[in-house]
């Protein structure tokens, strides 16, 4: 495969595509998105640094220790970043950025790369002036400071977060031809915080309190109703992310975490919890984040035009992160396919791989930790000698649920449902090793 041309400003093609979308026609965007590939390294390596020569960096003294008091990635990794799809949202404030899944090296998304969905922009919150109010159907309404919250017993747990709009652009057909954009509305971090049940104990929930309205301190006052059952189960009030304070994009200084559920229920910048008897029917659980369905299934025609509400659980999903459009195959020979799988119902039990568009399947290996409601790595070794392949991955949860095909989802919900598209995804590997997002 020929090396990718480096574009004029030295930026990668994907940057050009996203940043310059406005100068690019839709057709051109789709063409480039599906056809271009990025080769981050190997472009202009000075041969004087290769054997038998001693590299220049070995012959000069390095920078002082602590040159970057808050460490930064190598400058050669500058292409690894969250990106937006500029035309996806009406503005850049109530918008979303995507995790570069092709560049994730393990089961954790680094804090600077963890996708971000803001409904009213990114607030700048002084933790000294941040408060969590808990009131409603309680014996004793209270206000907690950040110091108070960190005096409760705390736990660290690794969980994924996924926006229910992940893969939403693909209901009618493949549209955004890069892994970052087809599946990047997810992250997985180690979250440190207090189990909500401990905090609820402080206020004394009255018997009629069955729901909790969680509300953020952003300009959207982003809000969702959470059933008490979930609150008392595994919901956390989180202040730590991958060993440091939450990043602003992920809710600094305090957020809710409802493991395995729609990402937007893990309210960021958490300021208020109100115990209620009924759901509060917020905009984000009536107008948005509901699933309008039009099943093709003949036995479900009475459901056409109805909408699922409170469809909280993010169901099982697996995606191959190498090869992918951003990471094509370069030479013939042996490869290890890598990917990530997760389910909001528990642990991943199996991931299966098909190379022929879903006719035959073989079980992949699960690598490393297999945790509850957490990204799980999988791998599959194969040899490629230039044949066209249609590669797919299919997750099965410990509950027995098997990730559906896009056709099965369309049978159940039609094509205009927006959220909760967890279909088996297909990458087509062409003879020259390029990878394209397709549907079969």
């Amino acid at each position: 495969m020929s090396e990718q041309k480096i574009t004029e400003k030295g930026k990668s093609s994907v940057q050009q595509i996203t940043e310059n979308e406005n100068t690019t026609s839709r057709r051109k965007f789709l063409t480039q998105a599906a056809a271009t590939t990025v080769v981050a390294s190997g472009a202009a390596v000075a041969s004087s640094n290769l054997p038998p020569n001693v590299p220049s960096w070995q012959r000069t003294l390095g920078k002082p220790v602590n040159t970057n008091p808050y460490g930064q990635p190598s400058k050669y990794e500058s292409d690894v970043q969250r990106r937006r799809v500029p035309w996806l949202t009406p503005d850049s404030i109530a918008s979303i950025s995507f995790t570069p899944l092709a560049e994730i090296k393990g089961m954790i998304s680094p804090n600077g790369l963890a996708f971000e969905r803001d409904h009213g922009g990114l607030p700048t919150i002084d933790p000294k002036q941040h408060r969590l109010m808990i009131h409603g159907l309680v014996e004793k309404p209270i206000i907690l400071t950040m110091d108070d919250i960190q005096r409760f017993p705390n736990v660290s747990r690794i969980h994924f977060i996924e926006c229910p709009a992940n893969s939403a652009m693909e209901w009618k057909g493949p549209q955004v031809g890069r892994l970052q954009f087809t599946h990047g509305m997810t992250n997985c971090c180690e979250w440190t915080g207090v189990q909500l049940k401990h905090i609820l104990k402080e206020v004394g929930v009255k018997p009629e309190g069955k729901w909790i309205l969680a509300e953020g301190a952003d300009s959207a006052s982003m809000s969702r109703s959470i059933p008490m059952e979930k609150a008392l189960d595994d919901t956390l009030v989180v202040f730590g992310q991958n060993g440091e304070a939450l990043r602003p994009e992920n809710g600094y200084p305090l957020r809710l975490l409802t493991p395995g559920w729609e990402g937007n229920t893990s309210i960021k910048w958490l300021r208020r919890l109100e115990i209620t008897a009924e759901p509060s029917y917020q905009r984000e659980e009536t107008s948005k984040y509901t699933d309008l369905i039009a099943p093709r299934d003949k036995n479900k025609q009475d459901l056409v035009g109805k909408a699922y509400m409170f469809s909280y659980i993010m169901e099982a999903k697996a995606i191959i992160t190498f090869p992918c459009p951003e990471k094509p195959l370069k030479d013939h020979g042996k490869y290890v396919m890598n990917g990530l799988a997760w389910t909001g119902t528990g642990k991943i039990k199996h991931v299966d791989i098909s190379l022929d568009g879903g006719i035959n399947w073989q079980e992949a290996e699960l690598n490393g930790l297999v945790l509850d409601k957490c990204w799980t790595r999988f791998s599959f070794a194969f040899e490629w000698n230039g044949e066209e392949l249609l590669i797919q991955s299919r997750a099965t949860g410990e509950d027995g649920y098997v990730q559906p095909t896009i056709e099965q989802l369309r049978e159940a919900r039609g094509v205009a449902s927006i959220y909760h598209n967890n279909c088996i995804h297909t990458w087509r590997i062409s003879k020259n090793g390029e990878v394209e997002s397709v549907q079969v």
Binding site: A34, M133, I149, K306, Y308, D352, D356, G357
Partner: protein
Amino acid sequence: MVRWKVYKFKLLVASVTTLLISACSSNNEATAVKVDKSTTKTIVNSILPSAHAATYEQISITAEGFKLGKPASNEEIAGWHIEVGHGHNLPPGEGTAADGEEMFETLCASCHGSFGEGVGRNPVLAGGEDTLTDRQKPERTVGSYWPYASTLLDYTHRAMPFNSAQSLSWDDTWSISAYVLYLNDIIEDEDFVFNAESYHDITMPNENGFIIKDKEADTSNTRCMKDCKDPKSITIKTALLGYGSGAEDVVEETAVVEGHELGQKIYDATCRLCHGTGLAGAPKVEDRVTWEHRLQEGINKVYKHAIDGYSGQYGVMPPKGGNLELTDEEVKAAVDFMIKDVK
């Protein structure tokens, strides 16, 4: 319930030296830490007099609660307790669609359109009736989709206008909400007084359109491993080769409007928030007089202020409208779009 291990350990002054050392080392015996005994003794004496060599015990923290935080007063709760529930927690005040019309035009129409039709990709608020069964392009508007009017009151007050959340009084909220319902023919009389009492006279057309999704999945794939489908049944759909009309619809729904100039797209996405409304002293697009005045100092100065930002007697312009992802050329294109009728 978390079970907390209970540790008891007695601290005797004589053993504190050992404890201090072992705290610094994982292996007490192999420690390389050298301790000056006389110094250690002095420190120990000063921080832990023998009279306080008491028994410490890790407490059970789940039994009684932590008693952290301070009680929330009614006044504090009232300031933050903003949500409006369906039929309860309804706010005070009232308004009519007639009252709301002018406010809507001033505060809302730049994004949502004068008739709630939506500008650019901003939410459409009105219309779409009987489209929910459309398999390709259902229109989810306040009138066609939202189950409860309380959500409209709640969200309007909570998060709108987009650039100044929680700035509307409850009277304004009732008025604007009444006007949005009026645009949807749900309130038919523009003088209908919308308030906590008359709220119950309103029925949203799609109130019964929602189903609580049970925990059972609505698909049931099987873990087939061999010969799972007929190879001849496989057709490959790509964005490039086309997916019939479907792919076109997706694009139309989620995105780019063909034929838009670059400048207008940038304007819609970044500039309109202020230049559509006059926020922060921003000249509105149609305000030719102000633009002509600004242009007296030359177009390059206008470009410069747009790119680098401006703060002064006329107001505040954040660099690149706050969207630093834009290139200078894109900002200039947006400026050109805004002044196209002036030049």
